[in-house]
């Protein structure tokens, strides 16, 4: 699964990066975010785009697994 790292990016770039990568990889994507705001924003976007999002908390980051 392709993985993108959105750590340290300002709003709304984590969501934009997710959106762009999903257009190239419609089957799914792993997204690393480093704050709750980006986590919430990406999660909300994934739901509206018809993906499930499972979230695992890591040290200082979250891994979001987006699947169709």
């Amino acid at each position: 699964m392709k993985i993108i790292d959105t750590c340290g990016m300002s709003c709304p770039q984590p969501v934009l990066m997710t959106k762009k990568s999903l257009e190239e990889n419609p089957e799914g994507l792993d997204i690393i975010v480093d704050n709750n705001t980006a986590k919430g924003n990406v999660e909300r976007f994934l739901k509206s785009a018809g993906y499930t999002a499972s979230i695992t908390e890591k040290v200082d980051t979250f891994l979001i697994e987006a699947r169709k």
Partner: protein, 363 residues
């Protein structure tokens, strides 16, 4: 935490609290105005000498400290920095110049409309147009690049500075300026202003309330979340103003406003465009400053300096209208925004020497 209901409640609270602050003594339609209040603080510490707009606004201190405490409590305090700090500093100046052309930050723009000031409609139109331009560059890969984790103490300094400002306000030493007339002399009691700031700071931190984010996310993702907060502020400030008898519909003789539609539009276009590049409106920058985001601290510092420049160079508008210096400044801001937008947009500068770095960031 990310429920739409929460942000509507938060927006509603901001609308009502803003009207209450006016009731307790703040200038009309200025329960909150991040640009005006930073401008007053710049005057209070003598960075400019416009004697009608000098006061250390406790609302600002409250917003920062409210966000600080709630982010500590929720373990969301993260000290970060290093995302194009000097670009952000100048963007802060530009946003402040634009806001003082219109006479209000995006939050006051909404509060002005909620109070019946129809000039704000031109402001909103310009704001949306500016956001739209910013979004075009976001879609072309605009980024001020990553921020990084830095030492915790760096993030504590700005909240500490705000606590220091509170001491200066209360102690009122002779070197702090306090307006004796004009908007700077009109303020709610310190305790009320501070409490209002703390409450709104906490709410805005929890809900990520952002005036520019609403329109931006609507255009980009058809996402209504932040926009519902924006609308809630408008609706509830309207209700509040009506209830207190403050509502006054029209263009002419609105409080701390002018009727020059074109420059209301252009001023807020600078604010909208600049705020999209920064990743959030002035309110959001203050909240992030409290959460340990030192890039936002730099932005707020830029806004403070921008306010001083605006008044020292005669750029800021007044009820009498826009100044010719102000018009030139808006033009310079647009040129600057254009250059920053272009040179930080990945797909527009593919052939530049930073290709390796840009690619690494895109991965």
């Amino acid at each position: 935490m990310n429920g739409k209901k929460e942000i509507i409640i938060a927006g509603g609270a901001v609308g009502i609290i803003s009207v209450l602050l006016v009731y307790f003594g703040n200038p009309a339609n200025m329960g909150f105005c991040i640009a005006c209040f930073l401008r007053d603080i710049a005057g209070g510490i003598g960075l400019h000498r416009a004697d009608v707009v000098q006061y250390i606004r406790p609302e600002i201190i409250g917003l920062v400290l409210g966000a600080f405490f709630i982010s500590l409590k929720n373990k969301e305090f993260q000290t970060k920095g290093g995302s194009s700090p000097f670009t952000r500093f100048i963007l802060g100046i530009a946003v402040m110049i634009g806001a003082l052309i219109f006479l209000g930050c995006p939050l006051r723009m909404v509060l002005r409309l909620g109070g019946g000031d129809l000039n704000a409609l031109f402001g909103i139109a310009g704001f949306v147009a500016g956001i739209y331009v910013g979004v075009i560059f976001l879609n072309k890969g605009f980024s001020l690049k990553r921020s990084y984790n830095i030492t915790k103490i760096e993030g504590y300094i700005f909240p500490a500075v705000n606590a220091g400002a509170l001491i200066l306000l209360i102690a009122a030493p002779a070197f702090i300026f306090f307006s004796e007339k004009g908007p700077g002399s009109m303020h709610a009691p310190i305790v009320i202003s501070l409490a209002a700031g703390l409450i709104v700071g906490a709410l805005a931190q929890k809900t990520r309330l952002c005036m520019v984010g609403g329109t931006r996310d609507m255009i980009l993702f058809k996402d209504m979340y932040l926009l519902s907060g924006f609308i809630a502020i408008l609706v509830f400030s309207f209700i509040g103003n009506f209830a207190f008898g403050f509502f006054k519909l029209g263009f002419a003789e609105q409080p701390i406003a002018h009727t020059d539609s074109l420059w209301n539009f252009l001023g807020m276009a600078v604010v909208g465009w600049g705020s999209v590049l920064l990743g959030g409106c002035p309110l959001r920058q203050l909240i992030l400053s409290g959460e340990g985001n030192t890039d936002s601290v730099i932005t707020v510092t830029g806004m403070l300096v921008g306010a001083a420049i605006s008044h020292n160079f005669g750029l800021a508008s007044s009820a009498a209208g826009v100044t010719s210096n102000g018009k030139v400044a808006v033009f310079i801001c647009f040129v600057f925004l254009g250059i920053v937008s272009y040179w930080n947009s990945e797909s527009l500068i593919k052939k530049s020497s930073s290709e390796g770095l840009s690619k690494a960031d895109a991965e």
